[in-house]
């Protein structure tokens, strides 16, 4: 155990910015998972560093290693990868860390408090289960698992364990999302009437392969053995946000998926359109296509009186009052003139509008993720969620709802694939329902 100063500054700054340090009861009801990392936890955590291991030293794993450098209450003590190139690269970043090629050996290491799992999706469930069984706290990349049954076993293992488990759904720790969703939930934009999310890129989603036998390993995203394609890699984050916004689960799923452009032997769709329908008729309209990037990435929550684009941290009003009267008045003051102010009229209200003005959800500089990187976007909450996990490794406090949200989002993504493959509308299957879900 090494001495350390204050809990991570990044995490503190984040919580302070949200107003959580000065009592944010309403915020906690919007994002209950934050309660696990608000200060005031057991004093035993003071001055300790969480000992963290990384399993899967690929691009995301290495990104986490960079983030770990600025988390003062944790240190990376071990690394594991069964692909030497990546293990070496990670080791060069943290020379003091012990290295492993078999993650089960790493899990036997008693000097590890928590593990970060950043391996291909097909390995998430097994590694998570083994790590929890070995008494480790776990921070696993999204999505939760490759199959519905795996999701269920992980969920059940979590329920019967006391270990901390996080899924890297960083939007849940991103200030613009939290504040935006709070705004939606408070109803200041009227009732939520629908959701539109999309993620467009123009890239083949491939990585360079040094020799052909490594194709499936390195380009695991393209093959069903390891990956569930666009739904789990991209949609997962966005579907979670929709459920979060209205605190409900959709009950019906239908869609169409195809390989439209990248006919290169891949097995997963490069074009998906999926509709999720909630029992009250509201829908998520989801679309992802990776051969055109014009539309970028957006998570739009559509309300009766306005739209929140959570990705950009802005909202638009259906009926914005441009308030030309006030503008003219300000002009008069500046030019020292006196004239009539065209300000008054029957209460400003619904009016058809063709121009929408963006209003910021949070003040200050907002980092916007254009969604074009396969690895990460800075300041998107990834650093905060990782920091919160490290904090939890010390306090042992589990984050409320994080696993449940990941379970809901992942199962919906997998069911989206099923609906596309089978060409039918799927009702959410009974056997995969959990008490957390509100249909």
């Amino acid at each position: 155990m090494k001495e350390t100063q204050e809990p991570d500054l990044g995490l503190r700054r984040f919580l302070k910015g949200l107003g959580l340090l000065t009592g944010g009861a309403a915020l906690l009801s919007t994002a209950p998972w934050l309660s696990s990392c608000t200060p005031g936890e057991p004093a035993s955590t003071k001055g300790r560093k969480a000992r963290i291991a990384l399993i899967g030293c690929g691009s995301r794993g290495q990104y986490h290693l960079v983030m770990m450098r600025s988390i003062a209450h944790a240190e990376v003590v071990a690394l594991c990868d069964d692909y030497k190139v990546n293990l070496d690269a990670a080791h060069a970043m943290v020379p003091s860390a012990r290295t492993y090629t078999d993650y089960r050996k790493l899990l036997e290491d008693k000097e590890i408090d928590g593990v970060i799992i950043a391996t291909p999706l097909g390995l998430h469930a097994r590694m998570t289960l083994d790590a929890m069984a070995a008494g480790k706290h776990v921070f696993c990349e999204k999505a939760m698992a490759l199959t519905l049954d795996e999701c269920k076993s992980v969920y059940e293992a979590y329920r019967s364990s006391d270990r901390v488990l996080y899924y890297c759904m960083q939007r849940m720790f991103d200030e613009k999302y939290i504040k935006g969703i709070q705004m939606i939930r408070e109803g200041s934009l009227g009732e939520v009437v629908g959701m539109r999310c999309h993620w467009f890129r123009n890239a083949d989603w491939r990585r360079e392969v040094p020799s052909p036998e490594l194709e499936r390993r390195i380009n695991w995203r393209l093959y069903k053995e390891y990956s569930a394609g666009l739904m789990t890699e991209l949609a997962c984050h966005q579907i979670e946000v929709c459920n979060w916004a209205i605190d409900k689960m959709p009950s019906q799923i239908c869609g169409m998926g195809d390989i439209v452009y990248w006919k290169d032997g891949r097995e997963v769709y490069d074009s998906v359109n999926v509709t999720y329908r909630y029992s009250d008729g509201r829908k998520i309209c989801y679309e992802s296509l990776i051969s055109n990037k014009y539309n970028g990435m957006e998570d739009q929550i559509l309300c009766k009186d306005g739209t929140v684009d959570l990705t950009k941290g802005v909202f638009y009003l259906e009926n914005d009052n441009l308030n030309s009267g006030m503008k003219q008045l300000l002009q008069q003051i500046k030019t020292r003139t006196f004239a009539s102010i065209p300000a008054a009229g029957p209460s400003w209200r619904p009016e058809l509008q063709s121009r929408f003005t963006p209003h910021p959800v949070i003040s200050g500089k907002v980092s916007v993720n254009a969604g074009q990187s396969m690895v990460a976007a800075d300041n998107d909450g990834s650093d905060i969620i990782l920091s919160a996990f490290c904090d939890a490794c010390l306090s042992g406090r589990r984050a409320e709802n994080v696993v449940e949200e990941a379970y809901c989002a992942t199962t919906l993504c997998l069911l989206g694939n099923m609906a596309m493959e089978e060409g039918r509308t799927i009702e959410f299957p009974e056997q995969y329902k959990i008490p957390y879900m509100k249909f």
Partner: protein
């Protein structure tokens, strides 16, 4: 609640705005003031508007009114009780035309700490802005503001003192049905409330007597000293028959009401 403000040092003027509060937009211009006191006033107003919205909003699941309307609680906070008592007074003074239930105010029963809505739904949309402006008027007076123009959703305007380069705040009321204006009013240490329909938004004022929406192409302007009074009367005058209008207005000799049928 998002808000923004700027201080125009050259003119010693402060402009603050909130794009969305109580379902509409809020703008405040204070003249002849230093930055610091103006900002204090602005912060006070922002937190009060947020508080009032949080109390009276029909849409926010966190608000007391929402919870009462949904039948989730039957408790009554002292703040909301005060507001109800104010509404009760206005219901009486308008002969029942100003009714926050839009139906039958008499069904509401409350006592300290408890309310029974009798199945009615509370809607403070017709008085919230007036109540807020009344608060702001008091605040500005106590802070010695001598020149300010506050525009709450274009239908409720508060004028403190006069325009720095003119004898009053000359305000025109737009005609919602065609280009042009309905009238022009010179405001000075008083306020203006406008009620009416718009081509795309009609029938939001309900006659509690028979439950019918008022769909006429009518604009009512009320100019008076008290912003809440102006707000309430402009709504009531949309509904009132000519006889009712006369008998109600007898009690408000200082207040000027004009009706325009367009």
């Amino acid at each position: 609640m998002e808000n923004s403000f700027s201080y125009i040092a050259g003119s010693r003027a402060f402009h603050g705005s909130i794009p969305l509060v109580m379902g509409t937009r809020f703008d405040m211009l204070v003249c002849d003031i230093e930055r610091r006191p103006a900002q204090d006033i602005w912060e006070n107003i922002c937190s009060n508007l947020a508080g009032m919205d949080g109390l009276l909003s029909r849409f926010s699941p966190e608000s007391e009114v929402y919870k009462i309307n949904e039948g989730l609680v039957s408790t009554l906070s002292p703040d909301l009780q005060t507001v109800l008592e104010i509404c009760s007074g206005w219901w009486l003074r308008t002969g029942g035309l100003f009714d926050i239930t839009k139906h039958d105010f008499r069904k509401l029963r409350w006592s300290a700490g408890a309310i029974d809505t009798g199945g009615e739904k509370l809607d403070f949309g017709g008085m919230g802005k007036g109540l807020a402006l009344k608060y702001i008027q008091d605040l500005m007076e106590s802070r010695g503001v001598t020149s300010a123009f506050v525009d709450f959703g274009s239908s409720s305007i508060l004028a403190m003192g006069s325009h720095p380069f003119g004898p009053c705040w000359k305000t025109s009321v737009a005609n919602p049905y065609e280009e042009g204006q309905v009238c022009e009013v010179c405001l000075k240490d008083n306020c203006l409330s406008v009620s009416g329909n718009r081509p795309s938004y009609s029938g939001h004022i309900i006659n509690p007597g028979d439950g019918t929406p008022v769909n006429s192409r009518r604009i009512v302007t009320v100019v008076g000293r008290d912003p809440l009074e102006a707000e309430v009367l402009s709504t009531a005058m949309m509904i009132a028959t000519p006889q009712e209008r006369e008998s109600i207005m007898e009690n408000f000799p200082e207040t000027e009401v004009k009706t325009y049928d367009l």
